[in-house]
Amino acid sequence: MTERKKFYLTKKGLEGFKKQYQFLKSIRAAKIKGEVPKIWESEDLNPEYLSFQEDLNFIETRLAELENILKNSELIKPPPEEKARFVDLGATVTIQVDGDKDEFTIVGTLEANPALGKISNESPVGGALLGHKIGDEVVVSSPIKVTYKIKKIKYI
């Protein structure tokens, strides 16, 4: 496992990691005592919860990873009103790109899931949008130019 400086997490993300940590700790304790944990049902879509009957080794590795995350996490807080018109971590941004309308939430790398519209602040697009405001046209070149026009910014 590598050490990182900071993991930026949304409130929901941080709560999720804390929940996973507590859950795996309880499973580990039950495993060590030789108890077979009762089937744990959840409506949470995180598939990790669906197959909790892991070997101890896997649980230990994951717990160490989660400890590192929780130790180095920094909560993404909504910005003060005067800064809320700029894109920052935690912002949900509606954009227009190549004639399509799309919506991203800018998150830290651990919560990034582009398939679900969560873009990392360390990705070329996420990084380029930071600091911009409604109406700005942000060009991301690589060398293919893609222009993102910011239509709306909101913070939850």
């Binding site: 496992m1 679900l116 602040n121 990705s123 070329p124 893609v146």
Partner: protein
């Protein structure tokens, strides 16, 4: 497990995995690429890519990275390889009118559809992988399954790195096909890549790749 039985099970596993040497990837078939790469050839180059780029990352467990890349698509022995265009793509890829219409735009799903799609894919692939490794010795079976879960869920630094390696190799292949055949919507691909890569080493690789192949 007695040695003879163990070797017998390992041979069965390898015979099953060998099918991936012939399994042409659906995304390229949809793009009408002639003799497209197979799942095994994608795994081969992704593993090399993982190795050469992991050297640039401090603290990554390279053995784990290599094993993870080797096993990341083994589930495709018993299930289809999914493209970002599924489930919009028709089963019959010869239905060109429908296929071309789907490929023309980056697929736009609602959040609910996206979550459902990811969840179903995960379940299908996990079930398939468990079936594939079911006869293997316990330690090997657990190692493969745990590596896959770390990869699929991004549960470790190595898992998150390999996840992007998988896509970087896919992007490289896409750009090569675009150069050779011009059938890839390269602008859509470039847009996708700029949204998904966030590992600093892979972002540098992606930029260098674009400079070399697209300029």
């Amino acid at each position: 497990m007695e040695e003879k039985k163990e070797l017998d099970e390992i041979i069965n596993f390898l015979i099953q995995v060998g099918k991936l040497k012939e399994r042409k990837r659906r995304g390229w078939l949809a793009h009408k690429i002639k003799n497209p790469e197979t799942t095994a050839s994608h795994i081969f180059r992704a593993t090399l890519l993982a190795w050469v780029l992991a050297r640039k990352k401090k603290g990554l467990n390279i053995e784990k990275v290599l094993k993870m890349t080797l096993i990341h698509d083994l589930c495709e022995v018993h299930t289809k390889d999914e493209t970002p265009y599924d489930p919009l793509l028709p089963d019959n890829l010869q239905d060109r009118e429908k296929v071309e219409k789907v490929l023309d735009k980056w697929p736009n799903f609602t959040l609910k559809q996206k979550r459902e799609k990811i969840f179903k894919k995960y379940k299908r692939e996990f079930r398939s992988l468990k079936k594939l490794v079911s006869g293997l010795p316990q330690d090997l079976k657990e190692e493969i399954i745990n590596l896959w879960r770390e990869f699929e869920n991004g549960l470790s630094e190595e898992g998150r790195f390999v996840k992007q390696i998988d896509k970087a190799e896919n992007y490289l292949q896409g750009m090569e096909y675009w150069k050779r055949y011009g059938k890839i919507r390269q602008k859509l691909w470039a847009r996708w890549a700029k949204e998904i890569f966030d590992d600093s080493v892979i972002v540098k690789f992606f930029r260098a790749l674009d400079d070399k192949l697209i300029k």
